[in-house]
């Protein structure tokens, strides 16, 4: 019998029942909750007179609507405020293991605080009404986004109705060059397989490049699995995973710790396991990446030129390129390095962790944001990240360089709070989606790594961070 992949093992250890047509009920260990996708689910529970099956599985926190400055003024937008207050009330009524209300010292982006609090562990199933739940796969957990109906289903039954995905291995061998980061690897993968390449798959990321990444880097990679169409991205846990978790508030303690680590060591794909699809990349071939269009697959290495639709043979793709260039206000064949920016955003569940801020600060140190940049902002992923960065003096580096140092939250990744682009404004962003209107109606987003975003802030246009 062929061996099992890590995904198979995680699936099987959570399988409650399976119907003849392959529809399964899988048990959910951790349920992350935020204010945007949960109100209708809690309302559904109330209407049906149901209670959460196990409220100690819930880790909750508002993040999408919370402002990143002037916290003393509260949440000024009344509709945003109502949504955040609705979460407060729902958690008060139904309970949770962890809840950080707005302005709590540890509040932040749910996908940053989950791991930080030790509430994301290897071998778990983790869900959240948020597609970037794939982030938690970096710990060897089966983690993916769900819709609001499913949020209610998990609250009421601690299970999810699901069908098993196909298995894809993305193997990144070799070594990354200086200045090339996990974000560049993620974008290069999406550039290669496309935003629908992972549809129907759970992706396991492996190879020397992935093993060499820190936990923060691995979270960046798994976070972007959904941009390749895969609900879940997974990386096998190793000693770095255990080292990251040891001593965290909700991580296993004492005798449980040793038992847990022994179990986590079994969470890897067997040597003789088969994947449905294998994709390979060589780390040495990956350069810093910049998206030029309105889909994360519309990406190129710095040094490249914006594509020419006239050279595209496929009619659907040609139309996509034409639409993207029109929306982005770009001409075919423009050098990426000639694209000038208006705003710079460093943050989001993709790139707002301490390592991201350190990488950004290295480039920012002693430099100044170009006068042509209207706003450059750094939004740490959580209160804990913010405090650590301040202890390391990173905030001063950013402020001295001309960046704004903000309070934690999702911020301008999706512009549900006051942080947004105006129509036509162009932004170098460390977030995950460059869709039309994502950062504000008419706003133009280019996805890059934190180091590339800072380099662009200083130059006023994109530059190859390896050359400065």
């Amino acid at each position: 019998m062929a061996g099992k992949t890590l995904y198979d093992k995680l699936w099987e250890t959570h399988l409650v029942r399976e119907d003849a047509d392959g529809t399964c009920l899988i048990y959910i260990d951790r349920h992350l909750v935020h204010e945007v996708t949960s109100p209708q689910a809690f309302e559904g529970l109330r209407i049906a007179g149901r209670k959460p099956w196990r409220n100690s599985s819930i880790v909750a926190n508002p993040d999408h609507n919370t402002p990143t400055k002037d916290w003393d003024k509260g949440i000024e937008d009344p509709i945003s405020r109502l949504q955040v207050e609705t979460l407060d009330n729902n958690i008060k009524d139904f309970g949770a293991l962890v809840y950080f209300p707005f302005k709590h010292a540890n509040q932040g982006i749910i996908h940053v605080i989950g791991p930080e609090q030790g509430t994301t562990l290897p071998g778990m199933t983790v869900v959240c009404g948020d597609s970037h739940t794939s982030t938690h796969g970096a710990f060897g957990a089966l983690a993916h986004g769900i819709g609001t109906s499913e949020v209610e289903h998990v609250l009421a039954t601690q299970t999810l109705i699901a069908k098993k995905s196909k298995r894809m291995l993305v193997d990144v061998s070799g070594k990354l060059g200086a200045g090339v980061t996990a974000k560049d690897v993620a974008l290069a993968i999406i550039g290669k397989i496309g935003t629908a390449g992972g549809n129907g798959y759970a992706i396991e990321f492996g190879g020397a490049v992935i093993s060499a990444l820190s936990m923060e880097g691995r979270m960046t990679i798994c976070n972007m699995a959904i941009e390749a169409g895969a609900r879940a991205g997974i990386i096998a846990p190793d000693e770095k995973t255990a080292a990251y978790l040891k001593g965290r508030l909700h991580a296993p303690k004492a005798a449980d710790w040793d038992k847990a680590v022994a179990y986590w060591n079994t969470l890897k794909t067997d040597d003789d396991a088969q994947f449905d699809t294998v994709v390979t990349l060589n780390g040495a071939d990956i350069a810093p990446q910049v998206t030029w269009g309105t889909s994360p697959e519309q990406v190129l290495p710095i040094g490249g030129r914006v594509p020419d639709p006239a050279k595209e043979m496929d009619a659907t793709k040609r139309t996509s390129i034409e639409n993207a260039l029109k929306y982005m206000g770009l001409s075919a064949n423009t050098l990426l390095e000639d694209i000038k920016l208006d705003k710079i955003f460093i943050g989001s569940c993709t790139n707002s962790r301490i390592e991201d801020l350190r990488a950004a600060a290295v480039v920012a140190k002693g430099k100044k944001v170009a006068n042509s940049i209207a706003l450059a902002m750094v939004v740490p992923g959580s209160g804990m990240v913010k405090r650590q960065a301040e202890e390391e003096g990173l905030d001063k580096i950013f402020i001295d360089a001309g960046f704004e140092w903000r309070e934690p939250g999702c911020s301008m990744c999706l512009a549900m709070n006051a942080d947004r682009l105006s129509p036509g404004e162009r932004c170098a962003s460390t977030s995950n989606r460059n869709f039309e209107g994502r950062q504000g109606q008419g706003g133009r987003t280019h996805l890059v790594s934190p180091a590339m975003a800072v380099a662009a802030a200083i130059a006023g246009h994109f530059v190859d961070v390896r050359t400065i």
Partner: protein, 212 residues
């Protein structure tokens, strides 16, 4: 949930690949704490020429006349024709809520993003996967013929064209059963509550730290 069995409806072509959920329903509308009322904001940034905000009276907003949903011939459409990877991006269920609230019950596309696809079933909508050549044909026929209607029959899993020709589609037995009967999945799952409890006890015994 509304049951779905059969529909004879007007088709509307949304001719663009990789339509994401930010385009289907922009983020400012996600601030609602309700499930309904998203229909007027479906494809908001393509449909209107002004900037939409929650609570706006859409009947007085300036329309983008070029956008297909605003054309007289497609008013009352219930079947959406779409291109590959429809519904990619965020997991927001507001996207299928908006499509359903607008009046669509069926989507026909070559492929969908996984989360969006599952969300459709949970809201009484039928997402049909058809091969690319067939979708292409439907787009061409729909654009060429005003009042182009399709007949979608879930029990027999077929879509019939005006010419009388038809094609079949796949759907798993559980989704089909639930859709035909408009069943509440939570109620159905709770019929297995004892099995869940047995599983939970065993899981707790092997990985007690998950329950600490």
């Amino acid at each position: 949930m509304k049951a779905f069995t059969q529909l004879d409806g007007l088709a509307c072509p949304i001719d663009r690949a990789n339509i994401d959920t930010d385009a289907i329903i922009p983020k400012q509308f996600l601030k609602s704490i309700k499930r309904s009322g998203f229909g007027p904001y479906l494809f908001d940034e393509w449909r209107y020429t002004d900037h939409g905000e929650p609570g706006m009276d859409c009947s007085t907003r300036p329309l983008n006349k070029d956008f297909v949903l605003n054309q007289a011939r497609y008013q009352g459409a219930q079947i959406m024709l779409a291109r590959e990877n429809f519904g990619c991006g965020s997991s927001r269920e507001h996207a299928p809520w908006a499509i359903e609230d607008y009046g669509f019950r069926v989507i026909i596309a070559p492929s969908y993003a996984d989360i969006f696809f599952g969300n459709c079933y949970k809201n009484g909508m039928l997402p049909i996967v058809a091969d690319e050549a067939m979708v292409d044909r439907l787009f061409k026929e729909c654009e060429a013929n005003v009042g182009y209607r399709l007949n979608v029959d879930l029990p027999s899993q077929t879509v019939t064209l005006p010419s009388g020709e038809s094609f079949g589609f796949e759907i798993n037995a559980t989704s089909k059963h639930n859709l035909l009967n408009g069943l509440d999945e939570i109620g159905l799952t709770l019929l297995h509550a004892d099995e869940i409890k047995v599983f939970e006890e065993k899981h707790k015994a092997t990985q007690p730290w998950l329950f600490a």
